[in-house]
């Protein structure tokens, strides 16, 4: 495995500088038949592995667009080990599509025979670090390329953590040569929910390992445990909030240009709405890199 910086350089020529958008099943036929002006698409393999028709359309799309693969099923933090059956399916998916990026979350979703369909929090301590590092090596060996680990959206943590999330990610990248996916929206909402400064989080994030950025919408709910307060829910169901665009500009200034994805998974709007958000990301990124206000 190459070191993080060298690997990122090797990806760069294929990844588009322009922002990409998440490709979900409702838009699949439209994209396959009308060739919209998207820079690249990101897909969740779990939406395609059991859907041959969708997979057929995706193959056609992959012939015209760069594809990024973002798995929600690998569960690199599961204490009981990685689901090897799913990893084998992911490996074949990656071999078939030859994506520009492969990524997943710093979280766990699988326990013994159950897939819990959520990205659940991990304690940030030495035991978890050893486990995730070991399993990350397995994943990277299986897919034959670097795996980008994404910072999660957090509502609650595990009280026994002995290090911060950024410290954990930085050490994970150092031990495994993985790359990091900085979800700027997750930084913003987790900072709000868990009580830390998102700008400080970005400032301490290991910039050399950053291979991709994510942006997604969130919704506000009353925090039932703290009357009068709000909690931010990572719903991926709305446009990106203005404060997140500001944080994104800060991240671009700090990390430099990186492939950026617009995520939208619920209440999915017309594709044109996603493409408009991607255009805005390009504008914000360009202005940030030129030192202009956004």
């Amino acid at each position: 495995m190459q070191d993080g910086v060298a690997t990122r350089r090797s990806i760069a020529p294929r990844a588009r500088r322009a922002a990409g958008v998440g490709l979900r099943l409702p838009h699949l036929t439209e994209v396959a038949t009308s060739a919209p002006p998207a820079a690249w698409f990101e897909v969740h393999p779990e939406n395609f592995l059991a859907n041959p028709h969708a997979m057929e359309l995706l193959h056609a799309i992959a012939g015209r667009y760069a594809i990024s693969v973002h798995t929600v099923g690998v569960s690199i933090g599961s204490a009981g080990g990685i689901d090897r059956v799913h990893l084998a399916r992911l490996r074949q998916f990656v071999l078939d599509l030859d994506p520009i990026l492969v990524s997943g979350h710093l979280a766990w979703s699988t326990h013994e025979d159950a897939y819990l369909n959520d990205l659940l929090p991990l304690p940030y301590d030495d035991e978890t670090l050893r486990l995730v590092a070991t399993q990350l090596h397995l994943v990277q060996d299986a897919i034959g390329r670097p795996y980008l680990v994404e910072n999660p959206s957090s509502y609650v943590g595990v009280g026994t953590s002995t290090m911060t999330e950024v410290e954990f990610l930085a050490e994970l990248a150092r031990r495994t040569d993985c790359l990091l996916l900085c979800d700027v929206s997750n930084v913003f909402l987790s900072g709000h929910n868990m009580g830390y400064d998102p700008y400080r989080y970005i400032d301490r994030f290991p910039a050399a390992a950053v291979g991709e950025l994510h942006l997604g919408g969130f919704v506000r709910e009353a925090d039932e445990g703290a009357p009068g307060d709000e909690i931010l829910i990572d719903s991926h169901s709305t446009v990106i909030a203005e404060p997140v665009w500001q944080l994104y500009a800060h991240a671009v200034r700090r990390f430099g240009p990186a492939p950026t994805l617009i995520e939208w998974d619920n209440d999915i709007p017309p594709l044109s709405t996603l493409l408009a958000e991607a255009t805005r990301a390009d504008t914000v990124s360009a202005r940030a890199l030129m030192g202009q206000a956004v």
Binding site: T110, E112, L116, N117, V156, G159, N193, M194
Partner: protein, 254 residues
Amino acid sequence: MSSLADVQAAVRQSLITNDVEAVKALLAGGADPARRFAIHQRHYQTSLVNAILGKFPATVWLVGSDAVADAARAYVRVSPPERPCIAEYGDTFPAFLARHERAPALPCLESFAELEWLAGQVSIAVDRPRMAWPAVASMGIAGLLRARLRLQPGLRYLRASWAIDGLMSAYLTDSVPARFVLDQTDRYLEIRGARGALHIGSLGAATYTFRSALFGRRPLGEAAEAALGADEAFDAGRELMELVAAGLVTAVGR
């Protein structure tokens, strides 16, 4: 201090049973971490219940969303997904629904929901290249009798005791009359689909026996014998030719 395995076992239990007590002491964040954990509990339940509802719209139409959602909430507690592909989740829901204490006492409910599940499965299939008759016939009679045929992936077979195919057809074509009489009669259904298309056909008992046995990868000779048990006039050669002509055979092997 709890190990990671202990923490995850407790979180799994709390998530599925909607009981936060087991993890309360482990959590941190916000003024009341246990209430924050309810976001994960809610997501687990809502996302999976919605997934079930999305797979069974005809069943919802038949018995109402409250009945199906109530059963789905119970189902996700006792039968969590085993794999990350949620498209594969729900195959045992028809039987669960039919036995759920708050489900309507509708005798055809399980088979109707099963038909809907199978229809959903075949409609996302992709046809494989069909075999032509000369290639099949080249195996000779002795070879064919021992052969196992591979049929199109977008095929399923279902035997029902009610005319559920008529009811499903009425739903799919939005042509439900004011009063629908559901006949209690044996139905031998072939559900065929690919790339979003769907056809539900009714077969004779012997043809159903023959084709479903072949689909289950029984040797052609055994499938023919089983069909003769249903109808002693069954003509296996003619039936095989029809199967091939319909483009349903994709490979012949041992």
